[in-house]
Symmetry: C2
């Protein structure tokens, strides 16, 4: 007979709604040939968002360095052979700028894409990330502390960064991590899998998901009273699932709170380029000269690039924690822990490099790059507004916060007695094919109901389904 054994109960207990029963039911409907509009996950390219040409040209050439000479030859032939000018066009060719860009990368990466890298990624990529962070935060103008390449750690998307950091911090059930409610379930799931304690805190929905010091203190005090050693506070900005961009004052509250309580901040900033014109301040900048411990996460999966499948990302650490009872520093331990998986994948690393190192303004590929970026971001914003506008026609639906990330998280006031947001989302799926995730999958303030929708489907699809949703909704709530 096969082996029979108890399985780690932490694995059995943990939940992951984003890939849970609703999307699973959607998969069944799809097999039955019914229309499905998957808005349950921030997976833009699955819904037709194109990749940025520049990014893909670079990684394709990195995979086939021999093409550098070949493409140069094609460029030469085009110039010198008028007979084929009709057939072979400028757009068929790879710009010299891209060829030089790749050549420059390979000079710093002689073993190329097929070799394991250092466990935290090649130094030249970590250096480029540190320059990106400094540029983004205006470090030199503001006289702030620059980022340190040795405190940057390339990971398989941001997800692996969350796992690596939380596994370091959680040893037993008395180790607690504060997470915002609602939260992205990677946090609850990973805390559960590591056997730690999840400590909820509640941003204020009616004040656009702002954060008040007293809310943080209250949640902290309660945990301490329960015998929990609070290790860190997670902040997701722009928010997931809320989609809301945190105001700077709230961010400062978090820093000052973490400072006074000696906590690490785990700042999930993977949506930092999904701002749609709103202002946003990084936690690195908010921490500034303070010696507060910060782990900031970024990813190639979101923004306007949406390269989810490539699993690129990084963690930047500032003021890494002091390790009690060991001479080894936190970063050395992190490196040792990560060395077991050898390194993150090189294409994800390379994409991270291209994301934070776009073509220079005015360079050959610039115009196309900028146009693609603008088209994707303005399309996302238009769709965000379309969806939010339609909420106005749904009885009892309210949506808060400055639009960011890829999501809305509307509150569903007045669902019929005895029905939950899970029931609602399942019924919505059955009625319209729209795949959303119930608020309870992310956690929510007791007594409230929500759903999360990713505003990613093509506009025509939204134009078709939004009126159906409105009809469904107003019927559902008046049941």
């Amino acid at each position: 007979m096969p082996a029979r054994m108890p399985i780690n109960p932490h694995v059995i207990e943990m939940e992951y709604a984003v890939r849970g029963p609703i999307p699973q039911h959607a998969a069944v409907m799809q097999r039955e040939g019914r229309r499905i509009i998957p808005c349950n996950i921030g997976n833009p390219q699955a819904l037709g968002q194109p990749a940025i040409t520049f990014h893909r040209q670079v990684v394709a050439l990195l995979e086939e360095p021999s093409r550098l000479d070949r493409e140069k030859k094609f460029n030469r032939i085009l110039k010198n052979t008028p007979a084929i000018a009709d057939e072979l066009r400028e757009e068929d060719l790879v710009s010299e700028y891209v060829l030089d860009y790749v050549e420059n990368m390979l000079n710093q990466w002689p073993a190329g894409m097929g070799a394991y890298t250092e466990s935290h990624g090649p130094l030249f990529i970590r250096e480029a990330i540190s320059r990106f962070i400094d540029r983004r935060d205006g470090v030199s103008a503001a006289g702030l502390i620059p980022a340190d390449p040795d405190s940057i750690f390339l990971t398989e998307g941001a997800s692996e960064g969350v796992r690596l950091i939380l596994e370091m911090m959680i040893t037993n059930p008395s180790d607690g991590i504060m997470i915002p409610i609602p939260q992205y379930p990677i946090y609850s799931a990973t805390i559960a899998r590591c056997g730690g304690t999840q400590i909820d805190y509640y941003p204020d929905e009616d004040c656009d998901w702002c954060l008040d010091r007293s809310v943080l203190e209250e949640s902290y005090e309660k945990a301490v009273k329960d015998g929990v050693n609070v290790r860190a506070i997670v902040v997701i900005n722009p928010g997931n699932p809320t989609g809301a961009i945190l105001d700077e004052k709230s961010g400062r509250e978090v820093v000052s709170f973490a400072q006074s309580r000696g906590l690490a901040i785990l700042a999930d900033e993977v949506y930092q380029e999904n701002l749609y014109g709103a202002d946003w301040t990084s936690f690195a900048k908010l921490v500034g000269e303070e010696d507060v411990t910060l782990f900031s996460l970024h990813s190639t999966s979101k923004g306007f690039y949406g390269e989810c499948g490539h699993r690129g990302g990084y963690v930047e650490a500032r003021n890494a924690p002091e390790v009690e009872g060991s001479d080894i520093s936190f970063m050395e331990l992190l490196l040792k822990q990560a060395s077991v998986r050898l390194c993150s994948n090189t294409v994800g690393q390379a994409l991270m490099y291209t994301v934070i190192n776009p073509p220079e303004e005015g360079s050959e590929p610039w115009a196309k790059y900028a146009a693609e970026k603008e088209a994707i971001l303005s399309d996302l914003y238009e769709k965000a507004v379309m969806v939010r506008e339609s909420f106005k026609e749904m009885a009892g639906v309210e949506s808060f916060g400055r639009i960011g990330a890829l999501y809305h998280f509307p509150r569903l006031n007045g669902l019929p007695e005895g029905t939950t947001d899970f029931d609602y989302c399942m019924a919505l799926l059955e009625a319209t094919g729209l795949v959303t995730v119930n608020g309870s999958g992310f956690g929510q303030k007791p007594g409230t109901q929500h759903l999360r929708i990713a505003f990613l489907p093509p506009k025509e699809m939204l134009e078709e389904v939004l009126p159906e949703w409105i009809t469904f909704h107003n019927g559902y709530v008046s049941m």
Copy 2:
């Protein structure tokens, strides 16, 4: 002040010699401009082994599907424009076969490389892997049970498969995993990090690392007497660090032992194409019709392809364990656990597909593919023999087992009193620049000393360094 906290002691305790003090000292020497020959890790492309052209052409085209039309156009132009025939040659072009191959993949993978896939990877890749396994093991001829695509799980190299499976099986210190000594340290490190118990068993070096039932029983009995619940037995075949190919009889012993004790087998078979002409039997085939639980691991990192940086791999499960106290099946739990990291990287997935789906014999790219494969494997074998031959000139050095994988693990008999194999490897590094790993980094029978050397450096480099090693060695042991 920064946060101050205890760090998970499992992370502090675990060791990973392959990236430990010796390679770290080598990095210092390299910065000082001294010659370094890194044989500490199976990272072939870092030592100049070329990638297989076919594999890279495919993944590069997958990254830039618009090139499919462009390359067809180039092919047409070449045929129709004699004026440029001198410049544009056949080898500059991508064969129609490759273009069709990629088109066929994309037809089954419409969202392409930029989208998250199912947590265990796209179905068409899992189906292709199941066909590969059946072909490899001669399933239809032998009337064996075919592989099931739903029991195949794409992972970030084999490393992630090890982590996912062990995290499921280990809940507390009384959960034990049997591992061969010597072993590849991902096993000891992951068991340590999960807080489980490592149970050593000792293959017989003098019998070419063969396995005897009594050795397995003895190690099992001892663990049970110590109150350990033994969950699984790890076998690495071909071996790492030993490089030895397990004989079929030993493999059958493992299956029958696991069967009688109700254990799962975790078969690390990542070197299954590093056989150099020797015969090898997969554990899937050895398990055959028996309902023994098996997890078999494969990877894109080794073989003749050596695509370490791309982090491709899979686990195939057979007769998955029955889960005590839960209605959810093992595979569903595995899927849930893995859904937290969303999916493995798509390029690694695609490479895994190309590795198990080479160009058909006689097709356009076949000749080149076969020649590259043959060149790499015969070069590896020649180097393996060169290194082993040189052991004969080193006093007290013996190496056992049929040559497989990428390693030798010679026994160093008669090191000077008071010196360890760590001292030896460090002195060897200082004297010659050769980076090896001390046997104690993998575990070894008490009272023995070894080192592991990856036979990857270019031949000229080995020709230069091997005589230096012989001189160093004979001086060292006569100290």
